[in-house]
């Protein structure tokens, strides 16, 4: 019985955590480069997914074309988000930039309503990833897709950030924008690029989330919030940590449901999060900015 419970914690934890983790990656990319909490992260997923939906209706998408289409659409959406929020207010106070992403999320929802209507749409499974069952361990197609996409994204992003010139520039900007500029790096380009990468991640996440929950204009905030929590647990410092933050959040929720009940799940999760923030050394803000 105990093994079954433990297996279920793994199953449910992965099912929830894979989605949280892939959302959290996008958050941390933007937060690291721009010190900005992107309230429109959920809408990147939404519009990326809806565009993919239209493309899949118009033409048959093979797995590879689907991945490329998702990456491409997401990249453009990310650039668009940057151009309409941070790009317009590069010298504004961080709060104003934060609120601009809130306004952007409303605009994007409005676009989703106008173009795709208010009814939820089901994005078909575009990747041929099978469900996995090994004894008591079970991963549904959606979970397996989310995990595969997340792990591949982390690998690719780590390579880009670690070994390419532009990746090193992005990391330099996230450590110290002024010093980076003195070394000839253009912080604005780097930030735009991190938005674009976050957009691509959002569209990839939609490939896992869309078939699981359908895509509807108001889904952004709910799914974005959990990603935000997961990124905070992960600490924003490295992509792997952020991704594992998502898995940890999923596992925590599964444990809370299985051991206690679903009733207090959210309360305990957020209380633990606040506690974690207060106790964590990295969360102190003073000096970080100045």
């Amino acid at each position: 019985m105990v093994t079954l419970y433990l297996a279920q914690i793994v199953n449910s934890g992965l099912a929830l955590g894979a989605v949280y983790g892939i959302m959290a990656l996008g958050f941390s990319l933007i937060y690291n480069s721009s010190r900005l909490i992107n309230f429109a992260q959920g809408e990147l997923l939404l519009l990326g997914g809806l565009t993919l939906f239209s493309l899949s209706q118009a033409a048959h998408l093979g797995p590879l074309t689907a991945l490329l289409a998702a990456g491409g659409c997401g990249y453009l959406l990310g650039r668009l988000l940057f151009a309409t929020t941070l790009g317009l207010s590069i010298n504004a106070s961080p709060l104003r930039q934060l609120m601009l992403t809130v306004a952007a999320s409303l605009c994007w929802q409005g676009v989703a309503i106008l173009v795709w209507g208010k009814n939820p749409l089901l994005l078909p499974q575009l990747l041929p990833i099978p469900e996995l069952r090994a004894g008591p361990i079970f991963l549904s197609r959606d979970t397996a897709t989310a995990l595969t996409l997340a792990v591949c994204s982390v690998l690719v992003l780590s390579l880009i950030l670690g070994y390419t010139r532009i990746g090193r520039a992005i990391r330099a900007v996230s450590m110290n924008a002024v010093a980076a500029r003195l070394q000839g790096v253009n912080p604005t380009t780097c930030r735009a690029l991190s938005f674009a990468m976050a957009g691509a991640l959002g569209a990839l996440a939609a490939m896992a989330v869309g078939p699981q929950t359908m895509l509807r204009y108001d889904m952004g905030l709910g799914i974005g919030l959990k990603g935000f929590v997961a990124a905070t647990i992960g600490g924003y410092t490295s992509l792997w940590k952020v991704f594992f933050g998502g898995l940890a959040l999923g596992a925590l929720e599964a444990v809370l449901v299985l051991v206690f009940s679903g009733e207090l799940k959210e309360t305990v999760t957020y209380a633990l999060l606040i506690l974690l923030l207060i106790l964590a050394p990295h969360a102190g803000g003073h000096g970080e900015r100045s």
């Binding site: 079954l4 279920q8 914690i9 199953n11 449910s12 099912a15 929830l16 989605v19 309503i113 209507g117 208010k118 009814n119 939820p120 089901l122 469900e131 008591p136 079970f138 549904s140 979970t143 989330v209 699981q212 929950t213 359908m214 509807r216 204009y217 108001d218 889904m219 709910g222 799914i223 929720e253 599964a254 449901v257 299985l258 009940s261 679903g262 009733e263 799940k265 959210e266």
Partner: protein
């Protein structure tokens, strides 16, 4: 000369006025959630309401007068719903109101309507609007969707007939799910059912396998899932992927619709749920009083282009029913007066609507019994009447 012309004109106008007044439209307020989270239910309701009003007017209106619908958007917020309800009554001077869409908005409007004596026919799912007791009086408030308790009784009747003794409950953490949980728990003993376990979930979540597993460990014969939207299909998928013996999955009356089938896919097979006869129009016997109404509604729904934007589901007919009740009430009352309309609505018997045959009494402001629902079984990717 000009003066005289004006005078003549005024005289003509004066004589003509009574003739105009006789055809002055009856003003009805419409409150629908057209933005915000409930818009996917509110917008089709508005379209259905406009379609129905046009049909009524084309057929000669009510009491010889056309109906005019004044529509406002509640933004899915109780505060805005109240604001718009007051604007309808105090500025537009409507006779009665249909809507709003969600239970929270309904409660906010109801409080005001009861104080101002305005008849309101709501299209909200939750029972509290017409429950009385701690939720306040409901002398002027009516609602067209089946009560939660009616749907629960329908489910329990079915389970009892199929020798189910032990059930588990899984309800959403919102007003709809909470309402369901209350009735599911309180009515279980009446049908000889034992509630083995209960769990709640966030209806916006993406996976409920932990809840499903936990309920499964209690070995219930059936598990009842109470929620609106994609969460119902996700839960069905989660139960389908449990290892070993699986309980019978029962969904609530908010689920029937193409989205459930689409999203749940193979996991939908064998799931049963109560639904209105709208979901299986072909199965109605020839003598059914609703047959003609339902078939005409389904036809009009697609001919007016609503089907293309919002595929027919179990919520589609509520606004239609509200207007049909209003029409029947006005004709029974014989005059466009709020108090007379309210009294007439309370005495309506056997009005066939899309959701059922309404028989309203001063105690029962819904008027639908368990007969208005049928149990549906998902078989080969389609809804069929369950045996």
């Amino acid at each position: 000369m000009v003066k005289r012309g004006v005078l003549t004109f005024l005289c003509i106008l004066l004589f003509a006025l009574p003739a105009f007044a006789a055809e002055e439209p009856i003003l009805i307020g419409g409150l629908f959630a057209e933005s915000g989270p409930a818009a996917f239910v509110g917008t089709p309701s508005r379209l259905v309401a406009e379609m129905t009003v046009k049909q009524i007017n084309d057929a000669g209106g009510v009491l010889g007068r056309p109906i005019k619908l004044v529509i406002y958007d509640t933004e899915s917020k109780p505060d805005v719903a109240l604001r718009m309800a007051r604007q309808l009554v105090e500025s537009d001077h409507v006779l009665a109101i249909i809507g709003p869409t969600s239970t929270g908005s309904g409660m906010a409007v109801k409080k005001y309507a009861e104080e101002k004596n305005v008849p309101v026919i709501m299209t909200v799912g939750g029972d509290p609007v017409i429950a009385g007791g701690k939720y306040g009086p409901y002398a002027w408030t009516f609602k067209t969707p089946q009560r939660t308790s009616t749907a629960v009784r329908k489910v329990y009747e079915y389970l009892k007939a199929h020798d189910v003794k032990k059930v588990a409950l899984m309800t959403a953490k919102d007003a709809f799910g909470q309402d369901g949980l209350d009735h599911l728990k309180s009515l279980a003993p009446e049908f000889g059912l034992e509630v083995a376990a209960e769990e709640t979930f966030d209806p916006k979540g993406s996976d409920f396998s932990a809840q499903a597993f936990k309920l499964g460990t209690e070995k219930p014969q059936a598990v009842i899932i109470w929620t609106i939207g994609p969460a119902g299909a996700i839960a069905a998928k989660n139960f389908a992927s449990l290892p070993g013996d699986k309980p019978l999955v029962v969904e609530c009356h908010g689920q029937p619709g193409p989205e459930f089938l689409e999203l749940a896919g193979p996991a939908a097979e064998g799931v049963i749920m109560p639904g209105t006869k709208l979901m299986a129009p072909d199965s109605l016997p020839a003598g059914d009083p609703q047959k003609a109404v339902v078939e005409k509604f389904v036809k009009d729904y697609s001919e007016n282009g609503i089907q293309a934007k919002f595929p027919l589901n179990t919520h589609s007919g509520y606004a239609y029913d509200a207007l049909i009740l209003l029409q029947a009430g006005l004709e029974k009352a014989g005059k466009a007066d709020p108090a007379a309309l309210r009294d007439a609505l309370q005495q309506l018997t056997g009005v066939p609507g899309v959701s059922g045959v309404f028989t309203i009494t001063p105690e029962d402001h819904n008027g639908l019994s368990t007969d208005s629902l049928i149990m549906l079984l998902v078989k080969d990717g389609a809804f069929t009447p369950a045996k």
